[in-house]
Amino acid sequence: MSDVKYSKEHEWIKLDGDIATIGITKHATEMLGDIVFAELPEKGSSVEKDGTAGVVESTKAASDVYTPVSGEVVDNNQAIVDDPSKINNDPEGDAWFFKLKIKDVKELDSLMNKDEYDKFAKESSQ
């Protein structure tokens, strides 16, 4: 059913043709608390699977954002930089982080589907 995939670093990725939209999961935002700062990869830059592609900071701590696949950044969501609280409000919708023109669709194969991720998130937070 769901065409959204999830990484162990708590990112979600949605593929539309060869363009992937990437953000962080609701579970991640609940772990982080109120997010007050977001830094995104620049348009035109290249990112490598499992590499750092941004930063989020809550009032408590800073966390790296990783990319679950490789590709070229074709867009980033300036709205969440201007108002990071949007990330807590709608992490898996309007508050996406960046869009990639992906390099290799096979990189998605190792990612989790929704059920697998929910189970993983539950176990990893215990």
């Binding site: 608390g33 109120d34 830094e39 009032t59």
Partner: protein, 367 residues
């Protein structure tokens, strides 16, 4: 083993996220989250469980006053009964072992100590007093802070008469039939109170406050509130490697004590006369980037001139804020500096403390 305060069950019931802090299970936040909790305290009334802090009672009369003046750089002779002062426990180099609040009470003194320092402080103070007095770090008492513009009204409904207290003054009052000791003080930049109450009544007391519309606030918001108010966190902004003068807390050294003896007194006097090499300042980054503790500070010529000691996002000032130490000649407000965050240099400016200042309407609070 990690200790629990008397409100542990109540924290859990109210959805607290508990973390270990100074050997205790403490609430970092509740369901509303740090920003909402912070704003609620600024606009209404927050309840903080600070029972992990030490409540040290020392019994004694005039000799005790004299002996404590040999330990703390504060004028205790002229302190009224029930009056409190902010002070420090220092080593011989004027390095700060702890910052504390000392209150003169009927049969001696009550000293409120930081949780992580209290056992060490107890040993130091006991040794310096040479076993002449009865010292008790009282574990049977909880400490509850009630802070915010509505604190006076809400607390007065539970503990009648506290609205007459002046800032940094306290007294014995009654909650129902139980004796409590209340001071008008706090760590948020708001009007507020701290209530010392027997453990067995603490939960009932907080339940009453909750019914009256106050909300429980976690340590996360306590940190953002105190940082906006420009207040130091022991272990971050002050420690054994900083002196009160370097920490820009000269106001807390009583004037009539500058020429007298206490641990570190020579260095304090010298630093007051000759100045210091580094000094604590407020710093505002020009962007939303947060500069946390240990962030390096550079001048415009890329020379390292200091370090951040605390940094966060200030919900009420709606800005990234920080405190840190810089070389003395960079301490003037609006001096431009750069903070190295994740390898990038972020422009920032020295900013007067506090970042957030309440406009007290009635002029009864002398902050």
């Amino acid at each position: 083993m990690i200790k629990k305060t008397s409100l542990y069950n109540l924290h859990q019931k109210n959805g607290a996220k508990l973390v270990e802090f100074a050997g205790y299970h403490m609430p970092i936040q509740y369901k509303d989250g740090i920003i909402q909790e912070h704003k609620f305290t600024r606009s209404n009334c927050g309840i903080f469980d600070v029972s992990h802090m030490g409540q040290l009672f020392i019994n004694g009369q005039e000799n005790l006053t004299k002996d404590l003046e040999n330990i703390f750089p504060v004028d205790l002779k002229n302190l009224n009964i029930n009056q409190s002062k902010y002070s420090f426990l220092m080593n011989d180099n004027a390095g700060i072992h702890d910052d504390l609040i000392i209150t003169k009470i009927n049969d001696g003194y009550l000293i409120i100590l930081n949780a992580a320092c209290k056992d060490g402080d107890f040993k130091i103070i006991k040794e310096k007093l040479k076993n002449k007095y009865d010292l008790k770090l009282d574990d049977n008492l909880s400490l509850i802070a009630i802070q915010g513009p509505e604190a006076k009204i809400i607390l007065n409904k539970c503990i009648s008469g506290i609205d007459k207290l002046k800032f940094m003054n306290g007294g014995k009052f009654k909650f129902k039939n139980y004796e409590v000791f209340v001071t008008r003080s706090g760590y948020t930049g708001e009007d507020g109170f701290e209530v010392s109450i027997e453990n067995k009544f603490a939960e009932l007391f907080v339940e009453e406050l909750l019914k009256l519309g106050a909300k429980l606030i976690g340590l996360g918001a306590r940190d953002t509130l105190r940082l906006e108010a420009g207040l130091c966190l022991y272990g971050n902004d002050i420690d054994v490697d900083t002196t009160p003068i370097e920490a820009n807390l000269k106001w807390a050294i009583s004037k009539n004590r500058i020429d007298t003896n206490y641990p570190g007194s020579k260095i304090i006097k010298d630093q007051i006369q000759s100045g210091v090499n580094k000094i604590r300042v407020g710093i505002k980054p020009e962007t939303r980037v947060i500069a946390r503790g240990n962030t390096k500070i550079f001048n415009q010529d890329n020379k390292e001139i200091g370090k951040i000691t605390s940094g966060t996002f200030g919900p009420s000032v709606d800005h990234s804020i920080a405190m840190g130490y810089v070389e003395n000649n960079y301490a003037n407000s609006n001096t431009k500096l750069f903070l190295e965050v994740r390898g990038k240099k972020i422009a920032a400016n020295i900013c007067n403390l506090p970042f957030y200042k309440k406009n007290y309407v009635k002029g009864e609070i002398n902050v």
